[in-house]
């Protein structure tokens, strides 16, 4: 067991949650996602870093600028010129602001009196403007673990990457709340607990988007002697603790590598060597294609570049990520060579050319002359940092919970005012008027108390996106168990059986009348699947209910039940009242779900008793 307290683990999280407002944050477009093939057009742009109001260029932006990249954007008929960066933004969406204030109030925060929209420089292509608009709305909230929430910001969602440098604009501009905690968590499990709690708070509003990709967690992690690292885009909550564990492992290993390098007196040779001729006849396809191959000698690094620092990641992967910023595919290093078509002889010749000793590692970059020169500088830069320990970085999560380098941690220089959006005043009246919704945890407890629901079921319902539907059914006096079974089991079963999209059945208009009909005895509970099947075929709900209503009168039912019981008199006599169960099955089969089970059970009981009385 790792003793995280002893390692000095400090972790904080940033939660980004899409808000379910009717319109986008700075335009009147709907907040809907589209399929890529529905795009109505494409256009392409270049982005360039601009200086901040303080006259500086953000270092993260500078790194993105190493290669001028052409970005392609998909446009849709649900987007407008604001998303295309062809029109100034509309005023800040008040509905989104109100949702933010609601969340702020739920966690005891204080609203900012005058909210200023800022531009946060992001030139990786995910924003057509080259910045993300964001506004600090509230500060200083509290967490159940005694920690604090530093800030709550209202931001616009970025465009979604299609692939490479191509982005889809449907998502751009959807309002997003960003909640940033202080670095108040000390174990990976605590990070999970806080993230789960905040997710619950957000969903308690009933006004946030649901589904994959609508909530993302960033985690800030450092250990003693390590450095603050921000890991972006943890989408699955279940992975968040693992991400923390792996980052701690990575930082520990980078510190171990540093100690080893220092012990060895390792250095970084600042003069790259052109080794293009060494690979003149190579069978490595990457090296063969390259116009220029440059090598960096790392005295004393042998074996450490190839050392695993977290599952699937080596120091070499870190160096490679930095080199990739120059548009190269990656690096080769002698800890992993010969391989990839590079022969033993070529490695020997390479070592000889750069004058590398046994204890040295040699790193190669292969590309056009310009890119190779840029990449080799990056290799030298990152290798030198290995002698310092852990660099401060923004990283992205890989599958499984390991991470890759994205860019340096951004500084304050990347923020400057959005001059096209006027500040918004949050008055006392407005703040007072914000109603605080019941927490989902409290709602689940209430379900248990008021409706005698099973605690696990109560929680499932409270946390589900169908809570409003569930609550509406309860308010109409429908028994909770019936509602639960219908929403969480019947609909799923029908989906499986028909292979059709059943989301329309979960609309209150399609669901509530069916449940009411069952409650009023107009249809048998067992006939609910039949109604749904008809609804899926396009039959209006009223007609579907009418068609599924029983055609048998109570008298008919009694006659059928009497006939069945009389045919099995021997069985009834030998089993007594215990014959009820087996006979119930026979009767249900006969009536095929057209009659309510309770009614049948009553009639059956009476008939069995009658037979037993004959004795």
């Amino acid at each position: 067991m790792t003793d995280y307290q002893a390692l000095g683990l400090k972790a904080g999280i940033e939660i980004h949650q899409q808000l379910n407002s009717g319109e986008k944050l700075f335009c009147a477009c709907p907040t809907v996602l589209r399929k890529f093939e529905e795009r109505s057009g494409e256009f392409s742009r270049y982005l360039r870093a601009t200086v901040s109001e303080m006259g500086e260029i953000d270092r993260a932006a500078k790194e993105e600028m190493m290669v001028l990249r052409k970005f392609c954007y998909y446009a849709y008929d649900t987007c407008c010129l604001v998303e295309y960066d062809e029109e100034p933004p509309a005023p800040l969406n008040r509905e989104a602001l109100e949702i933010c204030l609601t969340i702020a109030k739920m966690v005891g925060m204080t609203p900012v009196e005058q909210v200023h929209t800022m531009r946060k420089l992001v030139i990786d292509g995910s924003n057509t403007s080259g910045f993300q608009r964001t506004a600090l709305v509230a500060m200083n909230g509290t967490l159940p673990n005694g920690g604090s929430i530093d800030t709550l910001c209202l931001e616009e969602e970025a465009a979604q990457r299609v692939e490479g440098d191509t982005f889809s604009l449907d998502r751009l501009g959807i309002p997003l709340v960003e909640i940033t905690t202080s670095p108040c968590m000390r174990t990976p499990e605590e990070v999970f607990t806080v993230a789960e709690y905040l997710g619950m708070v957000l969903r308690s509003t009933g006004r946030v988007k649901r589904g994959l990709g609508t909530i993302r967690q960033d985690v800030n992690i450092s250990i003693r002697e390590g450095a603050r690292v921000e890991i972006k885009g943890v989408q699955e909550l279940d992975l968040i603790a693992e991400v923390v564990r792996r980052e701690v492992e990575r930082q520990q290993n980078l510190l171990r590598i540093r100690e080893e390098l220092r012990g060895r007196g390792a250095q970084v040779d600042p003069a790259p060597v052109d080794v293009t001729p060494v690979f003149a006849g190579t069978s490595s396809s990457i090296l063969k294609k390259a116009k220029k191959i440059l090598a960096v000698r790392l005295p004393g690094f042998a074996g450490l570049v190839g050392m695993e620092i977290q599952p699937g990641r080596r120091l070499g992967s870190e160096i490679s990520d930095y080199a990739k910023k120059c548009g190269v595919g990656g690096i080769f290093h002698t800890d992993e060579l010969p391989a990839y078509g590079v022969t033993v002889e070529e490695v020997a010749k390479l070592r000889e050319t750069v004058g590398a000793a046994e204890a040295d590692c040699v790193v190669l970059v292969a590309a056009t002359a310009e890119r190779a020169k840029c990449a080799v500088e990056q290799v030298i830069y990152r290798s030198k940092m290995a002698l310092e320990g852990v660099p401060e970085e923004t990283r992205r999560m890989l599958e499984g919970g390991s991470t890759a380098y994205m860019r340096p941690l951004p500084g304050a220089a990347r923020m400057y005012p959005e001059t096209d959006v006027l500040p918004v005043r949050i008055g006392d009246d407005e703040w007072e008027a914000i109603a605080v919704p019941e927490l989902l945890t409290a709602r689940a407890e209430r379900f248990v108390k008021e409706y005698k629901m099973d605690p696990a079921i109560a929680r499932q319902v409270a946390y589900s996106e169908y809570l409003p539907l569930f609550q509406e059914a309860l308010d109409r006096g429908i028994p909770p168990n019936l509602v639960h079974r219908t929403i969480f089991a019947t609909v799923k079963e029908i989906g499986k059986e028909t292979g059709k999209d059943t989301s329309c059945l979960l609309d209150p208009g399609a669901m509530i009348p069916v449940l009411e009909a069952a409650r009023e005895g107009k249809i048998a509970k067992e006939a609910i699947p039949d109604v749904f099947r008809l609804e899926l075929e396009g039959v209006p709900v009223g007609e579907a209910i009418a068609r599924s209503a029983p055609t048998l009168s109570t008298g008919d039912v009694e006659a059928i039940v009497r006939k069945i019981v009389n045919e099995r008199k021997e069985f009834v006599k030998s089993k007594g009242m215990a014959s009820l169960g087996p006979l119930m099955g026979v009767v249900m089969e006969e009536l095929r779900g057209t009659v309510d089970g309770k009614l049948i059970a009553g009639v059956l009981k009476k008939e069995i008793q009658a037979v037993l009385k004959e004795e």
Partner: protein
């Protein structure tokens, strides 16, 4: 307490029962705008803030840019606009420092195209332009060409760029390209069109072109700029990058981006070895009237005593019958009246309907297929240089600078 701090001061404020430190930026609607160390600005009451330390504002000066004297000499004449400006967020003002280094730093890549000298004529928004400034601009460009510029770039706000380009087209007979350029999306955003437009304008300015033109984005993409004739261009959108369009004729050229390859159409006027000529008189007692249904005849009184009036009429060049006596009065009083069309596309023809024939009888000159704004600028120039009303009227109906064509194609 407003005015208690200066921009850049370190201040401490009490907020949410916490003490925050930040940088005082400015006053906004009675609140102190403070920049937190995270980079966010918030507005807090002045009463919640105290001074920590007064920090003098240190002007940021970038490194000098090395120019290549072997490249063709170009001049940049600046009138304002956002193409290479920087906004001072502390005051909200657009910075006026604007030397060659500022431009070359703002537009990396320019130094590879030409060897620049720059001249700041004005730093104004283009809606504040006047015919007097057009004249000063024409003189400045003329001098730059006389002093050896092989091309001139005029940076200009986009709102009235087309008017200025038309004005220079008439006042200046240029043997080298005079390229107007601006940006639709401000230079303080990474997505600004300023860099591409500026690079394309420089490439057009060293090309074989020899007339006054506008170079701006041709599409919403950063893929090419169109080169428009100064007398045929119009801003056709309030915000899009590709707002500028050539009307009635196709663009006279195109600059691909990022290759910066220039293609000129056969109709483009080519660079010549001749000396430039300047004829800079303008008659500013001219007006432009946009007719609408129900316009009261009395509106015309405002133009009495003016030397010229361009009417943007409906359709083929119409106004209501009610206005005709007033128009006749104006003409009788010595005002030259030219009819153009609000349709922007197509030719004026006042011989088809009765009201049109009435206007012709009253002495209205048909503006052919001229843009209303171009017709106005042309009228100022014609009346400024030709005192004979009949000759001036004839000139209005003639093609002088490619502003009018006799064939509609």
């Amino acid at each position: 307490v407003t005015g208690a701090f200066s921009s850049g001061d370190r201040v401490r404020c009490t907020f949410a029962e916490k003490i925050l430190e930040g940088t005082y930026i400015t006053e906004r609607d009675g609140m102190a705008v403070v920049k937190m160390d995270s980079g966010y600005n918030i507005g807090v009451p002045f009463t919640a803030c105290t001074l920590v330390e007064h920090l003098p504002v240190i002007p940021v000066k970038g490194a000098a840019v090395v120019q290549d004297p072997s490249l063709p000499p170009l001049s940049i004449v600046s009138t304002g606009g956002t193409i290479a400006s920087r906004i001072d967020y502390r005051t909200g003002a657009v910075t006026s420092q604007f030397d060659a280094d500022d431009i070359l730093r703002a537009i990396p890549g320019l130094e590879k195209i030409a060897n620049f000298r720059t001249r700041v004529l004005y730093t104004i928004l283009s809606e504040n332009m006047t015919p007097q400034i057009w004249q000063e601009l024409a003189r400045a460009v003329y001098e730059e060409i006389r002093q050896g510029a092989q091309g001139v770039i005029v940076t200009h706000g986009t709102d009235t760029m087309a008017y200025s380009a038309a004005a220079l087209s008439f006042m200046l007979d240029t043997p080298v390209p005079v390229i107007f350029v601006g940006s639709q999306r401000s230079a303080d955003r990474p997505s600004s069109d300023n860099v591409m437009n500026a690079l394309c304008s420089a490439s057009a300015a060293v090309s074989p072109l020899g007339e006054v033109a506008v170079a701006m984005h041709e599409t919403s993409s950063d893929d090419c700029c169109a080169i428009h004739r100064g007398t045929r261009v119009r801003k056709m959108h309030s915000s899009r990058r590709d707002a500028f369009r050539s009307l009635a004729i196709p663009p006279i050229g195109r600059v691909e981006y990022p290759s910066l390859d220039v293609t000129l159409s056969q109709d483009a006027v080519c660079r010549r070895e001749t000396e430039p000529a300047l004829q800079d008189a303008l008659e500013d007692r001219c007006g432009l009237l946009y007719f609408y249904p129900g316009m009261p005849a009395g509106v015309l009184d405002a133009f009495s005593g003016m030397r010229g009036l361009v009417i943007a009429g409906t359709g083929l060049g119409h106004t209501s019958t009610v206005l005709i006596p007033g128009i006749r009065e104006l003409i009788d009083g010595g005002t030259t009246v030219v009819m153009t069309t609000q349709c922007l596309f197509g030719r004026v023809c006042d011989r088809v309907y009765d009201t049109g024939r009435d206007r012709l009888r009253a002495g209205v000159i048909e503006g052919e297929d001229m843009l209303p704004e171009t017709a106005l600028v042309k009228m100022m120039w014609v009346l400024g240089n030709e005192q004979d009303a009949e000759k001036a009227g004839a000139m209005m109906a003639q093609d002088l600078r490619g502003e009018l064509s006799r064939r509609s194609v």
